[in-house]
């Protein structure tokens, strides 16, 4: 069955008018087409798009300031359940889509503003980790010898710790706080990038075009940055996208434990952590921030998977 299916998939490609088109198919065109054909990647892209729009237009979407305490402003009590007019909540009561938190703040506004923190956390930690990891891994693969040995042994030791635990230990040294938590997660994710880049550099550096550049007298560093690293980029993009997902998840976990973002910052993990003992009486305060974390992480995971399959077609048929 499988072989028959595979054949029937191949036949139309030959007759495909697009394939007969005389215009050349570029590598990126092919990648783009493969990427946009995947439904799951599109779902991920959709969620991420919504998230980015929410983050940009947070002041317009959120009905209240995320840190505004509503005591004395409205007739409300703390940890009040959601009141949605469309679902039958009396219209004389102020509308709060996700209810109110323990400090009588509008939960919906806090969740909306939380998207900003999530995206910033994801991008900054991964950028930091990629900059350090790619440099270390690139140099290790390029130079080889004792430098390679030392760097990769250090990476092995870092990988020997479960990542969240190492991040917790680093925050213990640096002290709790959002910036320190980000630094901790960044440090913990360095080895993954170092390994990925080193592996690609080792592969690319033996290629003929690199030898050609070297023969033409290119300086080692220019060789690394202009010839080798750009060609080692593909796995880095995939790893980076998936890395954002795990960075957001780990940062939320640290904040949940009280080691990351501190109240009253509207960060999802911290919102969940401060209200976790109220889960039995006010489940809405735990439900929405957690759902937001899950959807964000899901978006980056779907996107990362889609990119991997689009960039590495050898894997496309299996996943």
């Amino acid at each position: 069955m499988t072989t028959l299916n595979q054949q029937s998939e191949f036949v139309p490609t030959i007759l495909d008018p697009e394939a007969l088109d005389s215009r050349p198919i570029t590598l990126w065109g092919l990648v783009r087409r493969r990427f946009f054909r995947r439904k799951s990647a599109m779902v991920g892209l959709g969620i991420l798009g919504l998230l980015i729009l929410t983050a940009i237009f947070a002041p317009a979407i959120a009905p209240y300031h995320p840190e505004q305490v509503l005591i004395g402003v409205e007739q409300v009590r703390k940890r009040q359940a959601p009141c949605i007019h469309l679902l039958g909540c009396p219209t004389d009561q102020p509308q709060h889509l996700m209810g109110l938190d323990g400090n009588v703040r509008d939960q919906f506004s806090r969740v909306v503003y939380g998207s900003r923190f999530s995206l910033i956390i994801g991008f900054t930690t991964v950028t930091f980790a990629i900059l350090v990891g790619a440099t270390l891994g690139g140099l290790a693969g390029f130079l080889g010898g004792w430098f390679d040995d030392i760097v990769m042994r250090i990476m092995d030791v870092l990988l020997a710790f479960p990542s969240l635990l190492l991040a917790i230990a680093i925050v213990a040294v640096l002290g709790p706080g959002l910036i320190n938590a980000l630094l901790a997660i960044g440090i913990v994710s360095i080895p993954a990038y170092a390994r990925v880049v080193r592996a690609s550099v080792l592969m690319v550096k033996e290629m003929d075009y690199v030898s050609a550049s070297r023969a033409l007298g290119a300086a080692p560093l220019s060789l690394l940055y202009n010839r080798i690293l750009p060609n080692a980029l593909t796995p880095l993009i995939v790893q980076g996208t998936l890395g954002i997902a795990s960075a957001i998840l780990d940062a939320a976990a640290l904040s949940f434990l009280g080691l990351g973002a501190q109240p009253p910052t509207p960060e999802w993990g911290s919102m969940l952590g401060t209200e976790r003992n109220q889960v039995f009486t006010a489940p809405h305060l735990v439900f929405y921030p957690g759902l937001a974390i899950m959807l964000t992480v899901l978006a980056f995971n779907l996107l990362g998977d889609g990119l991997r399959d689009a960039l590495d077609p050898r894997l496309a048929h299996v996943s």
Binding site: T3, D156, A160, A172, F256, L259, L298, N301
Partner: protein, 359 residues
Amino acid sequence: MLQYITRRILLAVPVLFGILLVTFILGRLIPGDPCTAALGEHATAEACERFAKEFGLDQPILVQLGIYMGNILRGDFGESIRYSRPVTLILIERLPMTIELSTLALILALLIGIPAGIIAAVRHNSATDVVTMVGANVGVSMPVFWLGLMMAYLFAIVLKDTPFWLPPSGRLTAGLTATPFYEHYGWQVEPGPGWFYLLEFLSNFYIFNSIVTFNFTVLKDAITHLILPALALCTIPMAIIARMTRSSVLEVLGMDYVRTARAKGLRERIVVIKHAFRNALLPVVTVIGLSLGGLLGGAVLTETVFSLAGVGRILFEAITARDYPVIQSFTIVIATGYVAINLLVDLAYAYLDPRIRLT
């Protein structure tokens, strides 16, 4: 094979040395003076001097490192500042809980993840496949602490007064106690390091302890208390295992020998289990090893959510209380356990794949 095992074990030694070094450095980097941390803010200069002498803190840093490593290697983890008790004793009390929880979570992840992956692969592109993969993608993205809290709410509050009710916190229902099996059988053991520590350690595995003492009330209670935490903890590894099993089985199903097996008229079940799955197992084993790190990190969160007194929970409390000896030794124990499990996974890999041990 023997040569391969020896090489793998020898390779783990520098990593373990590195773990000790990292925890030593982290311990020395933690802000604050160890003397005031241990003896309190109002410790006198003489007391601090005596303290420094006792713990070798007046020695050069390399000598300190030597003392530190020597102590750890002899199994002496020092004394907890917060509880004024040997850290080893705290480990004996707390470690079994975490091992029980992680083991149960791993078993659940394997029992659900592997069949789900196989079914999804066999029914490629069917509705079952799509549902399984959507589930796996959601599972990989799950914040464990959120899932735990929501499950606690669902099973303890929404399903209250139904047969599906499950306890949301703790290891045993208040009032129930697990008598250690050595006391149950009246064994005379001197309290102190050695046999007593070992027996105490084993008896803190409540499931094991209640089975050997035939106390089925405690056994049932301990298991019902573990179901929710284990379910929450197993989600991510389960999703990873299901995805890996699916893609690995799919790849193998396209192989020539599978076509041959089908062509000679073997039943589909035999083809899938004997020919495809066995050969698809290798990447799955690797991914099990990799997901254990997440399991141990997740244990900290799960234990916090379900108020379980395990290693993760105490490590977190130690950090907030700046209990350095506890932080250091628990990090070492967890990291060493992680390295040991990965070593076992590597050895299992070699056992399953002759190509690895022979080259």
